[in-house]
Each structure stands twice: as structure tokens, then as C-alpha cells.
Symmetry: C2
Subunit: 234 residues, 2 copies
Amino acid sequence: MIKIYSKNPKFYLAVDCIIFGYDIIEKELKLLLIKRSFEPAKGKWSLSGGFVQEEESLDEAASRILFNLTGLSDLYMEQLYTYGDVNRDPGSRVISTAYFALIGINELDSEIQERNGAHWRSISNLPELIFDHREMVDRALTELINRIKVHPVGFELLPDKFTLVQLQNLYEAIYQRKIDKRNFRKKILSMNLLEKQTDKERETSRKGAWYFRFNEVKYKELTRNGFFFNLTVS
Amino acid sequence: MIKIYSKNPKFYLAVDCIIFGYDIIEKELKLLLIKRSFEPAKGKWSLSGGFVQEEESLDEAASRILFNLTGLSDLYMEQLYTYGDVNRDPGSRVISTAYFALIGINELDSEIQERNGAHWRSISNLPELIFDHREMVDRALTELINRIKVHPVGFELLPDKFTLVQLQNLYEAIYQRKIDKRNFRKKILSMNLLEKQTDKERETSRKGAWYFRFNEVKYKELTRNGFFFNLTVS
DNA sequence: CCAAAAGTGTTTTCTCTACACCCATGT
DNA sequence: ACATGGGTGTAGAGAAAACACTTTTGG
């Protein structure tokens, strides 16, 4: 330990996770929230978070928190922003790094969910959140809207096999507006990143809709060659 | 102070600043670096940084560090990313939030600069940097490239009055490629955000080039009405 | 009068947008 | 046979790209 550092103060460091899920039936973007089980603000709605520990990086702390809450590792996850206002947490000074994660809403083990007091809440009808968590959510949403235009992150919110209708519904839920069906299909299919399966989804229509899969290997290869994903349509 | 927090560890928190400047003569993007005056890694090149103190937010810490180094307040400044790997600083565990700032290279008081051991170094020829500072610089550059396409941040790197040639040179320095002169001018002028002055810059040519000013008030007004800055050209 | 940098328009290509009908199937 | 949601193409408008010559003026 170097002397010169030690005249400086130390701080609690937290990680808070904004976990988005997409409800394929209700066609709604949702957020995984928990009822806080400890003071301050016990019983209030909050993002799931936790304190960074000695021997873990920020990313590892975020992964740990996500795993504890969902039972899933290898989620799509990204650092969003670090919140460091002096009085943001009334309990004590805590600096918090927010991460956002994307998850298929049905991947979630409902037993683990119960145990943690976690609930999916629709984005369009969020309860009041503690501290600056609402600000975190707003920033995450803005980031998601921007990111889904130019990165293939939407597929993280859908099952492995999905229909073009479902994919379009997802984009409409995030953009909060209607998209032209033909233009949307033309554009996504022209990238040659979706592989048509041989089976159809048959729950929602008589005709049935073809399943597709996102080809991640191909995407990575194209990206190396200067390709840029882009899905901005009318 | 709440008991339940106190079982968690505390950490040193630093802020590191990636300070970009643009050299209008050499047509090069530069970075303000310092020779580190304390251990560990004393004498090595580094970003300017410092530790967060008890009664300041992260933003305030960044402003303080920028002010101490440049003598300027109200710089364009933005939080970039937080680096939290366990061993990123060999002296002790330190979590660092990186900020990037944009500054006109001639705004800098050279006396303050001397005193701090600060030097402008060309982006295309950077010395080796300590710790993960190179990673920070790379991320900041990527962010700058993306940001300058869709936000009018380039003007932060130029004097109040600038010529279209200078503005284009700046974009070419950041994009690292040539831009078509006519298309560039057409696009920037069509936004009606630049105001032609009545005087010309006469150092670099016999004919002289008209000075322009960026109208920030107008930009903000347009933005409120759904306008989006965009300067992506061939 | 000439060298050096500033300034200026038009045509072509491509991308984005708007738009309406047929298809497949279960009941 | 019909109701329901899935699937398909084209024409017009607007934006982006390519491209070369004229202007100014100090020396």
C-alpha cells in the first residue's frame, strides 16, 4: 500500500442493475424491480443492486448481482453510467455504477424470482423508485433506444426462435410507435442475418408465422469486414 | 450512518480526464498529458487525474481537476466510463471514473501548463501511458468520433470565430479521412447554425476565408423543436 | 501575371417512404 | 365461406455522393 494515496477518503461502491425484459404476449417492455428488504427505504421499489466487494471488479459485481437475481450468467450486460452525487443515498455516501441488462422474460426462473421479491413491471407504468433509480432507468431506456438502432441487441430480448412479427412488435414497443411492416421486413432481411427455420409459430394465427434465428457468427464476421447493423425504419 | 452498509468495504475513488485539444495550425487532434509527479509510476506519462474527496460529486471532482490543470471552468466535459478492475492501479485498489473534455488548444494558460508539467501530444503519436489510461483514451476517441457526427461538439475545439476550412480540417483530423469540400459546406450551412462574420482570416491564404460563428442559442431552440444535428458526409 | 487557397452547382445514384392486396388455415 | 393475421412489390421523393472550374489577391 502506497502512503500517498492514504490521505484520500474511501467510499462505498454499489452496482445497480436495470434489467429489461420483453413480454412477447403483451408486447410490452418490462423492468425487473424488487421491493427493498432493508433500510433505508425498506419496502420501496428499487432496482436490484449491491455493494462492490474487495476482490471483484465492477463487471464481476454486476454479474454476481444479476446471477443472484435471475439464476442466469452470460446475460447481455453493459455499463451505463456512474452516479456520484454526494447525497444520492440518504443512508450514507454511496457511489453507484449502473449497468443495464437484457433478458428474455421467460428465461427467468420463477422460484428464484419469488425468493428475491422481484417483479416485472411495465415500462409505461412504473412505480415510484428510490433515490435516483428513476434517473438510471430513463438513461437506460434512452441508451436502449439508441443502441437497438445500430446494434443487434433486440435478439437478447427474444427467444432463440422468433417470428418477424414478434421482432417488429419489440421494436414498436421500444420506439413507442408503429413501423411499416414491409419496410421493416425488407430492411432486416436485406442484412442476411436472419435464418428462416422450417417450422412456424402457430399460437397467434391460423396461417402461422415462420420462425427465424439470428446468426451471430455471421454478424461478427460481417462486422470485422466493416459492416454496420442498422435498423432505422419509418 | 446506517449499520447495514458498514459490513461492506470502501474504496479509493479517482477521476481521470481525457482532455482533447485541436491544433488549428498543424491540423491535428491532441491530448493533454502530464508527467506523473508521484509514485507509483512517477515520471511516466499519464492522464491528469485525482482522488474524489468527501464533499464533492464525481462531476465536481472532474471540474476541479480540469480547473487545476487548465485554469478554465465551464469546459465541455462528459462522463465516459468507470474502470474498476481489481488490479488496474498497482499502488492500491482504486476505481476510476474517466471524463473527457474538449478545449481550444490556445485557451490554455501556458504558465499553468508549465507548472503542472502538462504537454500536448498528438493523438497519432502517443507515448506509452500508465495503467489502463490507453484504454480510456481509445474509448474517448471512439466516443468523440461518434458524438461529433450528431452533436455540435466540434466548435468546443475551435476558437469562437473559425473558417469553414478550419472546421472541415477538424472533422478530417477526427475522422482520419478526407471529406468532400462542397458536400461538407452544403450540409453544415444548410442547418443554418453558422453565422458568417464580416471579417476574414488572412494568415493562411491571399484570398482570405470568411469567419463564421456557431449560434448556440439557435441550436438549442431548434433542438427543442425536434431538430437533430447531423454532419455525416462523404 | 502567377501561385495558392477559397469558394461555388449540377447530375447521378441510392436510400427511404408510402401504400394495398393476396395467402393460408381453423372453425 | 369467412375471419384472422401473415406475407409480399413498386413507384416517387428526397438525400447522399461524385465531380471541376472560377475567384481573389499578395508578391
